[in-house]
Subunit: 197 residues, 2 copies
């Protein structure tokens, strides 16, 4: 049995973590990006299906490819962020189930069932995107996730002729609390969002 993590860890992951719009100039190394995935990959997905694909947009060339597809309010901050992760969803994920879930014929659950493919791919890639946010924070990095962009444009620029579709974006770096950090917005109280029955 595990104990509670120390208060400072709970603060870093949840209570004091913020969505940053501006980042310090401190760079994020390729090794750190790899470490994020090497943690996030362990998060659970249904039938271990792991439909998330991640493109870390880091070079000036790739940022320029992303730029026209960002919403006006997200463009400048995204171009300035050290890295922007495109969290994407592989809708052909079930092709890999013989490798990922070897103890059952899980691929057969999906073939010919587009509604189940759709909901499973989107739910589980999104779960994995949240694991990426939590992994980045656990590694001392800050995130700025967003869904304000032209998905079709990003798909054409980064995933042409493929079963992979963009889901949401995460700017990653070391947050700069002195710039563009808004007052924290309210959260629903336990009684508004939850019930114990």
């Amino acid at each position: 049995m595990n104990d509670n993590l120390p208060d400072e860890a709970l603060d870093q992951l949840f209570r004091k973590a913020r969505t940053y719009n501006a980042f310090l100039p401190t760079p994020v190394s390729d090794e750190q990006l790899r470490q994020i995935y090497e943690l996030a990959k362990w998060g659970p997905t249904s039938a271990n299906c792991q439909p998330m694909r991640l493109v870390f947009v880091k070079s000036a060339e790739a940022k320029a490819r992303l730029a026209p597809h960002l919403s006006e309010g997200n463009r400048a901050k995204t171009l300035a962020a050290p890295v922007t992760a495109i969290v994407a969803t592989d809708y052909a994920f079930y092709e890999r189930l013989p490798q990922l879930f070897p103890h059952a014929d899980a691929k057969s659950w999906f073939v010919g069932n587009p509604a189940l493919i759709e909901v499973t791919a989107f739910r589980n890639a999104t779960l994995q995107g949240a694991y990426v946010i939590m992994a980045a924070r656990a590694l001392g990095l800050d995130c700025g996730p967003m869904s304000g962009f032209d998905n079709a444009g990003v798909d054409a620029a980064f995933f042409p002729e493929s079963q992979v579709k963009s889901n949401f974006l995460i700017n990653i770096g070391y947050g700069d609390p002195s710039r563009d950090l808004f007052p924290r917005s309210p959260r629903l109280a336990f009684e508004e969002a939850c019930a114990i029955v």
Copy 2:
């Protein structure tokens, strides 16, 4: 700037965390369920929309209401778990945006746009479900998430005549590594799932 969390914390959250099928008899208190939400609520959602609703199924009566809607392979373990959280999605989430995102008229972005409502609700409630898993682990608890159940049946039993729909389930307790813990399934390598561009 934050540091990496210590290795033991990274193990607890990611590297050694497992999806448990069997739990120790140790109970989970209502206060612990509240603590899970009080951490998870801080996770980011788009326009702070917080569409997740959580029903913690704990009593024998409520477990009996859930039972007929579980898939055969998930029934016995779920009935035996100390708590089963129904992670649900409130498709009328935008009604609360004047409270949750007071600095813009975010509600108007959604009214009359059912496709945007649908994708925003499902994506963000799912992100929040992942935050619940990570919060439970941060508090020393173990999870057994699953999507193998009859959503319509669970909705009729727990969310009648409402805009709230079940998304996925999470058994919560202290995992019993001596029972029904399968060998860990493989994860995609960085090169299979990720690119740095």
